[in-house]
């Protein structure tokens, strides 16, 4: 009886999902962990809430911060028993980023990733994604300045039309 009562009381996974929409990426706060596409599964295991996340880049220092953010957000809603599991495969890709997330990036001044994940089938040097459009003025005339920007997931570009430098969230 006791178990059943607890089962009825506990929030639905949809409710949990709605709460997680309020957990921002610590480095790009306009993106939530859901927008990023790293929350792969949400379920109850008895009284424990299990959140399965897939790390973005292997060395991304934000992952620890994100786990702490998820715990804090759920605790605010009274869910204290949280287990965060990490799943490596399939590897995270920017293809999992939501359309809303991509739009938010653009509004924040970061060019969102092109449609397709990075092509790992060959090493041709020029096989990279086409140059992203400038998130400020929309011009397609942009030039790569550096393959890495302020974080591993971004590259630095400059727009030839408006002259502004901008970050590009790399297709991954």
């Amino acid at each position: 009886m006791n178990t059943q009562a607890r089962t009825l009381d506990r929030p639905s996974t949809q409710q949990l999902r709605d709460w997680l929409a309020g957990v921002p990426d610590p480095e790009i706060p306009v993106l939530s962990v859901l927008d990023l596409g790293i929350v792969r599964d949400l379920r109850w295991d008895g009284a424990s809430c299990v959140v399965t996340i897939t790390p973005t880049y292997s060395g991304c220092p934000a992952m620890q911060e994100i786990s702490a953010g998820i715990r804090a957000e759920l605790a605010q809603h009274g869910v204290d028993d949280v287990r965060i599991e990490t799943r490596l495969a399939p590897a995270w890709t920017t293809d999992w980023m939501t359309p809303a997330g991509k739009a938010a990036l653009k509004g924040y001044g970061i060019a969102p990733p092109g449609e397709k994940a990075i092509d790992i089938s060959g090493l041709s040097r020029r096989a990279g994604a086409p140059a992203p459009a400038c998130p400020h003025c929309g011009s397609p005339r942009t030039r790569l300045i550096s393959q890495f920007g302020s974080t591993a997931c971004k590259a630095l570009y400059r727009c030839a039309a408006c002259g502004e430098p901008f970050d590009y969230f790399k297709a991954h």
Binding site: S58, G59, L88, A89, F148, A152
Partner: protein, 254 residues
């Protein structure tokens, strides 16, 4: 325990860890802000991969050693990294030459390991491969820029390549660990990676107007020994710096 898998995971973990540490030494010393950022981001990717491999090594060993104990509490003879990773940074061209030859090997190896019969190995490889594809393209770009640059940059790039070239041979050796794992579909033959590696390196060097060193020079046994714990004197200095804090204040955390 699966001794071969333990050794192999250590080998991959130590190689990515030591190279990561080497690249981190450029932090604040890069020739341009963008290059400084790029090398430290590359270092971070490799560090993340090292954590995955060393965690796997600890799991396979089953003796309660985690990534930190393996990284901080082993001395040089217990390190299993390839010698290439520990070679000094030298000037920027030296670092780029080392990185380019490593990245291309790393790329083809991870492609093979993505299909490993061990799902943990396959997952780490598939994840790392995406990062390493980017690394390999970037370092090839720089080799072309420096090789096909000025007379000075060309000369220094060629000399850098000729020197580090001796250390690539052991990346392609199938010792008993690799042979055992390849036989079970857990790893792939390293020797079999040579043709694709060589072809790509030759193509990039040609575009960079650089001379491809002799394949025979990469096979000299004097430049091998990392995976069996015989290192160059460079490793001790890296470990001294990297392990100082944990050895002085065991269990320190913040």
């Amino acid at each position: 325990m699966d001794r071969s898998l333990f050794q192999y995971a250590l080998r991959m973990g130590d190689t990515t860890l030591i190279l990561s540490q080497r690249l981190a030494q450029w932090c604040g010393h890069g020739p341009a802000l963008e290059e400084d950022l790029a090398l430290t981001n590359l270092s971070l990717d490799l560090l993340g991969q090292a954590r995955l491999w060393l965690t796997l090594a600890g799991e396979v060993e089953g003796a309660g050693r985690d990534e930190d104990r393996l990284a901080y509490l082993r001395d040089a003879p217990d390190y299993r990294n390839y010698l290439l990773a520990e070679r000094p940074n030298g000037h920027y061209g030296d670092t780029i030459a080392r990185q380019f030859l490593f990245d291309v090997w790393h790329y083809f190896l991870l492609q093979g390991l993505s299909g490993s019969a061990d799902e943990r190995v396959a997952a780490i490889a598939a994840k790392s491969l995406k990062e390493v594809t980017y690394h390999a393209r970037r370092s090839a770009d720089l080799v072309v820029r420096l090789g096909d640059g000025t007379e000075l940059s060309h000369g220094r790039m060629q000399a850098a390549l000729d020197e580090i070239w001796f250390y690539v041979g052991e990346l392609f050796v199938d010792d008993d660990v690799v042979a055992d794992l390849a036989g079970r579909g857990i790893a792939v033959s390293h020797e079999a990676l040579w043709p694709a590696w060589h072809e790509h390196v030759a193509a990039v060097l040609q575009e960079a107007t650089l001379r491809l060193p002799d394949a025979a020079d990469a096979r000299h046994p004097a430049y091998q020994g990392g995976p069996s714990g015989r290192h160059t004197e460079a490793l001790g200095y890296i470990l001294a710096e990297m392990q100082h804090l944990q050895r002085t204040y065991p269990g320190a955390s913040w």
